[in-house]
């Protein structure tokens, strides 16, 4: 009896004490919901705008027959590789149909690696024939590189002053550190190519979850940029992406072999 009366008394007190908190929680949750809805709407419409822009760029082009599109894609693929072969530098060819990533030099395949996994943006899944040929009909050019490892490492060494000094300098081989190989390139047709070196998929996923990976940091940076746009009620910028996972050593070799403005040919 005594306990019950005490509870009743407390509940009256609580109603008054926490009514401000209740209102705050409701308003806060409503703001979050509204912001989430606006964020979703603006993010999706940014993709739709990009699709519209690509279609307007191909206006007036001869229409592509759906029954011939596979052959036309094949033709564009070989033509693009031929164009690359006429140049002197190393180029990259990516065949998502055959799951192959290759380095080509003067038309000769010097390295070939099987793609372990890949993902493409929705934009690429929805594009029509004309947009496809505008994007992939000729070699693309790399505009910039960003990577977790140094692209062209060069160690600076001071020569010894005497023969005794040279003998004293014992050749100590650097132990090979475990490197997380992830590199991303911006291409001249406004999309990004991300190459991830993966020897163990579970390890890569764990690194991503723990925020250790370059990929996680890059995603956070992109979200932050989108956030900045949305706070100002502007549409965020949208860059379609192709993410490819290949063995780590190959990812490193390709990064180091590609010149700064290398050509890339892609078949999806």
């Amino acid at each position: 009896m005594k306990e019950n009366s005490a509870e009743d008394f407390d509940s009256l007190f609580v109603r008054k004490k926490y009514s401000g908190l209740k209102i705050f929680v409701i308003i806060f949750c409503v703001i979050l919901l509204v912001f989430t809805a606006v964020y979703t709407y603006l993010s999706v419409s940014a993709v739709r705008d990009r699709m519209k822009l690509s279609q307007t760029q191909t206006e007036g082009a001869a229409p592509v027959s759906p029954s011939l599109i596979d052959l036309m894609k094949e033709k564009a693929w070989v033509e693009s590789r031929l164009k690359m072969a006429s140049g002197d530098s190393i180029g990259l060819t990516i065949d998502l149909e055959e799951h192959l990533l290759q380095l080509e030099l003067k038309g000769v395949v010097v390295m070939s690696t099987k793609i372990r996994d890949y993902a493409t943006s929705g934009f690429f899944k929805r594009m029509d024939g004309n947009v496809y040929f505008t994007m992939f009909g000729s070699p693309l050019t790399i505009l910039s590189f960003e990577s977790t490892i140094e692209k062209n490492p060069l160690k600076v060494v001071m020569a010894p002053k005497t023969a005794e000094e040279a003998e004293a300098a014992v050749a100590v081989k650097d132990s090979l550190p475990k490197e997380n190989v992830f590199w991303t390139v911006k291409l001249d047709r406004e999309f990004e190519l991300n190459i991830q070196g993966i020897d163990s998929i579970s390890e890569a996923q764990e690194n991503y979850k723990l925020g250790k990976g370059f990929e996680f940091k890059r995603d956070l940076k992109n979200i932050f940029n989108s956030f900045k746009h949305i706070v100002q009620f502007k549409k965020p910028t949208y860059t379609p992406e192709i993410l490819i996972a290949i063995p780590e050593n190959e990812a490193k070799a390709i990064l180091r072999a590609l010149p700064r403005n290398a050509s890339v040919t892609i078949r999806i």
């Binding site: 979050l32 993010s43 380095l103 929805r126 600076v156 060494v157 040279a166 010149p259």
Partner: protein, 220 residues
Amino acid sequence: MIRTFFIYLLILFVGILFFGSMILFAIPAIQESTFVLPKMKEAQIGADEVGTTRESLEKEINKLQVKLEKYTPTEAYIVINSNDNHFYLYKNKQLIRDGLCSTGKNERLVSADSTKEFIFHTPLGVRKVLGKQKNPVWAKPNWAFIEEGLPIPPPGHASRFESGTLGAYKLTLGDGYMIHGTIYKRFMGLNVTHGCIRMGDEDLEVVYNTMSVGSKVYIY
């Protein structure tokens, strides 16, 4: 009363969690999912209207394929992977041998008086074999003395010439770069050279006998 307070806190926490997961995972996934994106309009027309036929396209593709395949030499050529220090020797477009080699150590050597600099790097790209020689004698360049802390002798001085260091064969590639043997076999498979491509004795012999002057060397 404490329970009510914690219920509000929990609602607040769940709200923040929901928002965070939407921003981090759900919205990027929605953005990329095809069901919210419109399908771009495909042209619904027949092949004849486009003015081309399946057969003519197939012929064109075949012609282009033949043209592309001609770029790959039928005679012997070698591919060097300077990252993994591995070579691949081809003849008649078939891999006939592969194995370890050593390539440039990617180092910049600065002389003790800081007046000279040398870059030890294997150049990437395509080169040709310009010459072949058995039992080559190494004419030591200036950097070999600077690296050992020795005074640089005049050109043609006896101390500049060493037999055996380059192994039994050398294939010159121009600009001072060569494919040759080595006495430092324990470094095979590592980036340790001054830019040349070093090979083990047996591999070098096969490469020397297979490649001729003019054969292509692809380095990446």
